[in-house]
Symmetry: C2
């Protein structure tokens, strides 16, 4: 089994903790390990042959640094994309690399910036998916929805078969409106598209050849050494990326393929889309407050806040449902229900040319 | 003329900028000079013979540091009280020191932690007060009230005389309730008690002897060198302070003396009682925001905030009338109308034994 971690994201919604060179996956939103590190830690018990991390040149160095301590237990390759081209080229590149050495190798694709509460549950679902993937299926984990989310893509499963799955996938659907999302939730047939996939390298390459022939042609040009040694690939990857267009693997392959199955996964998953998601993925105190990285949090009649400090004291007096984040050089104060607008702060910093804070 | 600056205060309402060893008078609440430095700068044009700064042992070193650059233009003595005993002993001690060398020396008493917008106006009022003080009056500046403040003491003047004063003071009154404060404001006879006094050293000592004989007896014991040299006074001051009780000069003398006159002073005065006073004493931008010490303030649909940074970026999204203060090691978020409760934060820090942040 090969783990492919997609770690090239560049979000702005966790400013000021996230920065250009340290986006969401490279930071610790709760205390402790970063999201990339947690993604690795979750699959180590599955004893993967190798872990491929697909990132970009801005983040490669920090990714390398964060993963160095795991190299003693697993082989890790960090591959920097010259430009971001969404998930299809990243998945295709990883599949090409794996297939060159182990054509029927199983490939587990994991986004680096999601949270999963039930790690054992994840591992069990992945093992189940690996089993079907060996038979040539494109497997995906479908997250059992817990709310009528309008921010996620969904997949519709055919649950008419007995048991706990895998089940055939009827279709993928884009982010729904509120009423549609409610219908999805009530129907029981719809699941959140987690972006976690399991398949054989040769299977996905065959599907890419069918549905994304232009990408397949470019990937086919890459030549490899006999040994597993990726350091020399840089120039070839640059050529491929200069020739291909941006596309998601969901749209490029999954929505079209008839080989897709899913494993229902009620595993406490969250894409941690903004600061306001923190109470869902971490413990809160009796004032429903999330507190990270503070020497002390002094709470005078405040409630429901999300507080992320820089190691010192944070005090709030009589405020509710406020996000307060300090990194030492930058400070954010924002109501929880405006968390999506943190990206406006980053836009304004960019307009002002304040590079040091981006 | 001798300037006596009362700089021994120990407020907590400007936490986290103010700390035990750096209370309000030793910090810069707006950008630039500290309040103590501004107090000195305001009176330098009056060419005082000496400036006596009465502080305490915790703050003496920092006071010394902040005033060192003014020593080239004026003699400054920094006197550390061993314990705080309110204003009467501090005033009495300063008067005793001045009288020992210059009995009829005029003494201008100024609190170190007030703001005055109209500095020339202050200087003119002080000059007028000095003139009357020479004739043996206890002079005080009565601030022309601009609002029915319930947080200040008042004095009632007899304005039946023509001209711009000085006027006799009928009585001092404690902090009034809301209705009384409104009546005071409408009457036109009431003024805020500024704590700024002007008198001859021998005059105030005579009044202390009359109304506070126990204090006078202790002060009388202090012996002096012929030269103006206060370094050896430490032990004598400690003895005096161990024998006397705490009292304000207002209650101890001013409320009882019949020699009190006042100069009406509409000089843009504020005691800067809390963070919420900042918009009164500093410029605000078009969103009615006060911003100090920020590399940049990113305002996304916020209004009426008071932002004091630690040199980096502060961003607020969709919040109104919020105080946001960062010092690097500590951070405060508090609505303007709860500014008085900042002291509760300090109390809680003290309970928790977090000395580093006090």
């Amino acid at each position: 089994m090969y783990i492919v971690i997609l770690a090239g994201g560049s979000g702005t919604r966790f400013w000021p903790v996230s920065r250009t060179t340290r986006p969401k996956q490279l930071i610790s939103i709760t205390d402790g390990s970063t999201m990339l590190q947690r993604t690795v830690e979750r699959v180590l018990p599955l004893k993967p042959k190798r872990i491929l991390v697909i990132t970009n040149h801005l983040q490669a160095e920090e990714s390398e640094r964060q993963l160095s301590s795991y190299r003693s237990v697993v082989n890790i390759d960090i591959i920097a994309e010259p430009v971001g081209r969404n998930t299809a080229p990243a998945v295709g590149l990883a599949a090409t690399i794996i297939a060159a050495h182990d054509p029927e190798g199983i490939m587990v694709v994991l986004p680096a910036d999601h949270y999963i509460r039930d790690i054992e549950g994840l591992q069990n679902r992945l093992i189940k998916a690996v089993h079907s993937a060996k038979n040539g299926w494109l497997m995906t984990l479908g997250i059992v929805p817990t709310a009528p989310e309008t921010g996620y893509g969904y997949l519709e499963a055919d649950l008419s078969l007995r048991g706990e799955g895998p089940f055939p996938v009827r279709r993928f659907v884009e982010k729904p409106d509120q009423i549609t999302a409610l219908n999805y939730l009530e129907s029981g047939n719809f699941f959140w598209n987690s972006g976690m996939f399991v398949w054989r390298a040769d299977t996905i390459l065959a599907e890419i050849a069918t549905y994304m022939p232009e990408l397949a042609v470019e990937l086919d040009r890459i030549t490899f050494n006999d040994v597993w040694e990726l350091a020399d690939l840089g120039e070839q990857i640059e050529e491929v990326y200069s020739a291909i267009s941006s596309q998601s693997i969901d749209y490029g392959v999954m929505e079209k393929s008839s080989r897709v199955q899913m494993v229902p996964s009620g595993i406490g998953w969250s894409d941690v889309g903004s600061w306001s998601a923190l109470p869902d993925i971490t413990d809160t105190d009796e004032q429903e407050t999330v507190v990270n990285n503070c020497a002390s949090y002094i709470n005078i009649e405040s409630r429901g806040c999300i507080v992320s400090g820089n190691g010192g004291v944070v005090a709030t007096v009589g405020v509710n449902d406020l996000i307060v984040v300090s990194t030492g050089d930058a400070l954010l104060v924002c109501p929880k229900n405006r968390a999506q607008d943190v990206k406006k702060v980053v836009e304004k910093l960019s307009e002002k040319g304040l590079q040091d804070y981006l």
